[in-house]
């Protein structure tokens, strides 16, 4: 049977994704003594620190997404206006960071954002501020690093969506009397919205589960779900608590994706065979 060709992939996904996730789910329901209980979930509701972790996580994710939209939209728009070949060349500036290990990028930001780092030196030179500002090992550094890492995830789908907008629509709008600014806001922007929402979602969901960059650039002060999970495992080896946190993260991710999928009718995007 033809579908049998997909079997090896299915097996790997089951082995590496489904079974471990299933175990996590199971583990989250096991209390300290090894018995079935919801104590881990109870603790999450009771302990304020857990609530704060989720709050921080959503905060960081939301802010990062916002920054990505503000920076990414103009960039995607610029690229979408270029002739194909030039766009391909400039696109490398988006693709190169995308395919460079995030460790390298995180490390680079670590250096750039130090007290004696490039950013502070540059800002002082051009007079933005006078004494070095603490830009790393805090929320600011984390946001900057994450925005940088997430930007391609927004720009790429947004660019794709923008390219698919029929140029004649812009001509029609201009012909009907719309000034260039009006053409943008009344025709182009609304039509680019699905692509933007899709990209924003990808960014948001990725931020929720992110570990490396907040861990390095946050300096321990920005505690997100992933960092918390890791800390619990490293320090207490408390699989119950860690997996409960993880399960909630997973469910939150799935809910957001499901709602977004309905909103965007992702069916057409993923499965169109034309």
């Amino acid at each position: 049977m033809l579908l049998g060709l997909a079997a090896p992939s299915i097996l790997i996904i089951i082995a590496v994704i489904m079974i471990p996730l299933g175990w996590l789910f199971y583990l989250s329901l096991i209390g300290k003594g090894g018995e079935f209980s919801l104590v881990n979930y109870q603790k999450m509701i009771e302990y304020k620190s857990y609530a704060r972790v989720y709050l921080t996580t959503f905060e960081v994710s939301f802010l990062t997404t916002l920054v990505c939209i503000l920076i990414g939209y103009p960039l995607a728009y610029f690229l979408a206006q270029l002739p194909q070949r030039m766009a391909g060349i400039f696109m490398l500036t988006v693709l190169l960071p995308f395919w460079t290990s995030l460790l390298v990028r995180t490390y680079a930001w670590l250096v750039l954002l130090q007290k004696k780092g490039l950013l502070n030196e540059f800002a002082i030179q051009i007079g933005l501020w006078e004494t070095p500002v603490k830009l790393v090992h805090n929320m600011t550094g984390t946001l900057i690093g994450m925005a940088h890492i997430m930007l391609p995830f927004l720009v790429l789908p947004l660019y794709g969506a923008m390219r698919r907008i029929e140029p004649d629509l812009m001509r029609a709008a201009a012909n009907l009397g719309a000034k260039p600014v009006q053409v943008f806001w009344k025709v182009f922007f609304p039509m680019s919205l699905p692509g933007m929402v899709a990209g924003s979602l990808i960014v948001f969901v990725l931020c929720l589960g992110f570990y490396v960059t907040p861990a390095v650039l946050g300096g321990g002060r920005v505690v997100m779900v992933a960092t918390q999970i890791t800390a619990i495992l490293e320090n207490q080896f408390n699989w119950g608590a860690a997996s409960a946190l993880g399960v909630v993260l997973l469910i939150a991710t799935l809910i957001i994706l499901y709602l977004a999928g309905r909103l965007l009718k992702l069916d057409n995007v993923l499965f169109g065979r034309n």
Partner: protein, 272 residues
Amino acid sequence: MGFWKKPASETQITHGDRLWLYVVALVIMLLLIIPTVIVVPMSFSDSQYLEFPPSHWSLRWYEEYFDSAKWMRSTMTSFQIGVLTMLVATPLGTMAAYALYVSEHRAARTIFVFLITPMIVPVILIAIGTFYVFGQLGLNNTIGGLVLAHTSLATPLVMIIITAALRTYDLNQERVARSLGASRLKAFFLITLPQIRFSILTAALLSFLTSFDEVIISIFISGGVNATLTKQMFSALRDYIDPTIAAISTIMVFISTTLLLATQFFEARKDK
């Protein structure tokens, strides 16, 4: 100055009117690139401390890297795992992409979504999940375990790339080949495969990169003798900022750039 008066879009707005956009875009692109390539000059700095611009130039960090048995071992490990991942994920993903694209079975869609899940699930969960399960199975800190895990990340990527390639390809050619007497397998290998070969190459290279650059799963399930390069770098970053990392990063940027340019080359050749 004639360029600035030329129309830049369908609305006939000029390049000059859009100068602000070009400047903004340029700044953003610089902001994207600089943190990626800044490791390069940093790696040639003589100083023990992370400084930029370097006051003295030297190759000492490269020497440190190449002289260190630990770094070399982890690099080899990462390469090994990367190549193995590439060799496994590419055929698997291609087969899955083909099967699901061609099949008219109702289950095809569901399976497609199923195979995309590694991209949807937060990686941290895959990391700790596999850490636990592999721990029970003794697969932690093994090459095999890592290849399995990385393959699960790379396969959906391959699938998406190949599916996109198949969409622009006329399947009728395969049907013609089969009507002329070729089996489905032969038709695929003789007719379809050569025409999507550039996409397959791109998918292969990107699978390699996915594995080579992968951090978080490696942090959890690689270790000891089979620690990956990324895991070692991460430990080094967390504990003390070792400038050797700059040298290693430069090498990684170089690898990424080369592979990326190769895929661009393939893109360009694809349509010829």
